[in-house]
Amino acid sequence: MASGVKVHEDCLTKFKDLRAGKFKYILFKISQDFEEIVTDTTVKDTTYDEFVASLPEGEPRFAVYDFEYEKPGEGHRRKLIFYSWIPDTANVKSKMIYASSKEGFRKKLETSFEIQGTEPSEVSYETVLERAVRTS
């Protein structure tokens, strides 16, 4: 089941830019009128901690992060990760709309895997690294 919320063209353009190495991460949000998913911010030089800190405390976001890590014995790896950030502190209306719009959006982006986050520990570097190593 889905919400029918659309995806603005710009989200796909920005995603291609990220894949080409122009950004480290992108935050996406649903427009005020709940019609479409739009780009919120794009960030180039940053750290994972700054990314986590940029996820709003009481509001949902979608995000894609260009995750780089060392796989023991196999060297440098890179994975694009999709995040559905829907914190427990968000109001029920925004939770409902983001959760029901997630799958339609994620399918349009080619990412390695998805992280569903409802609190900071679920999107921590360790959690994501563990998942990245496991799914390769």
Binding site: M1, K95, K102
Partner: protein, 453 residues
């Protein structure tokens, strides 16, 4: 942007649960109407005046039925008549009537009694309730995860053929609950009145093979409590309708109330009213023990007093904990004799149901599901319920990260699927998801399987 459903036309959202029916306008925070799904039925010979219903406080429902009544220009005459009378609504069902049977249109969370379903829809749309014309509104209904294709198609047909709704959609309860909790992927444990179910939802779709359910839930606890309490010869659970006057008495003293004469009361009505008392008992007295059942610790816990409708009052000790324990260790706490047609050895504790449900999903998603467990349904509001589920799961799955989402807000816990439906159905973008009148005309009722996945 299309204004297929303009702002003034809000969708109607219906959630018919085994115990409560919730109905209201999409976009609102709470349902306008919440009333028992159980209804009263008067056989034909007890209905007076050519089908006019014998009713008390609701008799003004007939007022607007005359065509062209200037005060009620919009109200439509309720299409009639089935054999006998249906009595619907909280106060109406509770009010005693001779020969009135209490029935429930659902079996195992799905609709069995279609006449009653239509009566309930009639009641909601017309009869002084929402007072709307279903022709002018899209209709959004919720369903159990295990609802059958036949039932979904029949609902679609009734919506378009009989009520001629503008559009129709049917959505699965656990998906709505998961979305309302902000989790497209989750395990939804629903412990309500008639059944306990555990349903994995992955990316907004029910994983059918992971559905686990059993008929042990709130009603069963009430039934068990009634038996246990009545086994004490001191106590008889006399429901409110029989009591004319009660007296304040000391604890454990006979209350000798003045009773009403209620001839021709049906067994089902009396039981319905007794269950109401037991429901109140559960809410005020019962508690789930936080860790593994321990008789010694429990017998040292403070007792709680309950006053029955007749004024008799006494304190309850271990029973407070023993009844809810059925939900966690049915094998140990359920007397086989209390179950007709159910084999106790086939029953599981709610935590075991969660583990079984998680276990039937692919191994990679299991840690994620254990980290996203949603509790919904009135029975999960028993104090200690969430702590106990958490405790049992960490014993069964040591090392796994377990996170239980149980909204403290009672509306969100009891009405999560209605609320989810209300939000979704109010979105402008949702218009493309509705089954439109035209789609129904073009493809017929089977369209529901395609559009409402």
């Amino acid at each position: 942007m299309s204004t297929f459903y303009g702002d003034e036309v809000s969708a109607i959202v219906l959630d018919i649960g085994s115990n409560w029916t919730r109905a209201g306008y999409a976009g609102e925070d709470t349902p306008k109407l919440v009333f028992p799904t159980s209804y009263g039925f008067l056989p034909e010979e007890n209905v007076e005046n050519d089908g006019d219903i014998v009713m008390g406080e609701n008799s003004n429902a007939n007022l607007g039925e005359s065509e062209g009544d200037p005060y009620y220009p919009k109200r439509k005459k309720r299409p009639k008549k089935r054999r006998g009378s249906y009595i619907i609504g909280d106060a109406a069902v509770m009010a005693w009537r001779p020969s009135m049977e209490i029935k429930n249109p659902l079996v195992d969370g799905t609709i069995r009694d279609w006449d009653a379903l239509e009566e309930i829809w009639d009641y909601i749309f017309w009869e002084d309730q929402l007072d709307i014309d279903p022709k002018e509104h899209p209709l959004f209904v919720t369903e159990a995860a295990w609802n059958t294709r036949e039932i979904r198609e029949k609902l679609t047909e009734i919506a378009f053929e009989k009520y001629q709704t503008l559009a129709f959609y049917i959505a699965k309860n656990p998906v709505l609950s998961a979305f309302a909790a902000g989790r497209p992927t989750a395990i939804v444990l629903d412990c309500g009145a008639s059944s306990t179910s555990c349903v994995p939802v992955v990316d907004g779709y029910v994983l059918k093979k992971g559905i686990h359910k059993q008929p042990i839930a709130g009603d069963f606890l009430s039934e068990y409590l009634l038996q246990q309490i009545q086994s004490n010869p001191q106590i008889s659970v006399i429901p409110h309708y029989l009591i004319s006057k009660k007296f304040i008495v000391d604890a454990d003293k006979p209350s000798n109330p003045i009773l009403r004469d209620r001839p021709n009361t049906t067994e089902s009505y009396n039981k319905f009213m007794q269950m109401r008392v037991m429901h109140e008992f559960k809410e005020s007295v019962c508690q789930v023990f936080e860790t593994t059942y321990d008789e010694l610790v429990i017998s040292a816990r403070p007792m709680k007093t309950f006053e029955f409708p007749d004024g008799y009052n006494t304190s309850f000790g271990p029973l407070r904990f023993n009844a809810p324990e059925i939900l966690f260790s049915p094998q140990k706490f359920l007397p086989q004799s209390s179950l007709e047609g159910i084999d106790v050895s086939s029953l599981y504790g709610v935590h075991e149901m969660i583990c079984n449900s998680v276990g039937s999903c692919d191994i990679d998603s299991q840690p994620h599901l254990l980290n996203n467990i949603i509790l919904t349904g009135g029975t999960t509001l028993l104090p200690g319920f969430t702590d106990r589920v958490n405790y049992e799961l960490s014993m069964m799955r040591p090392g796994s990260k377990i996170k239980i989402h149980a909204p403290g807000n009672t509306i969100e816990r009891k009405c999560s699927s209605w609320l989810g439906g209300s939000i979704l159905a109010s979105l402008g973008t949702f218009h493309q998801l509705w089954i439109s009148r035209k789609e129904y005309d073009d493809y017929g009722k089977s369209i529901v399987e395609k559009k409402c996945e």
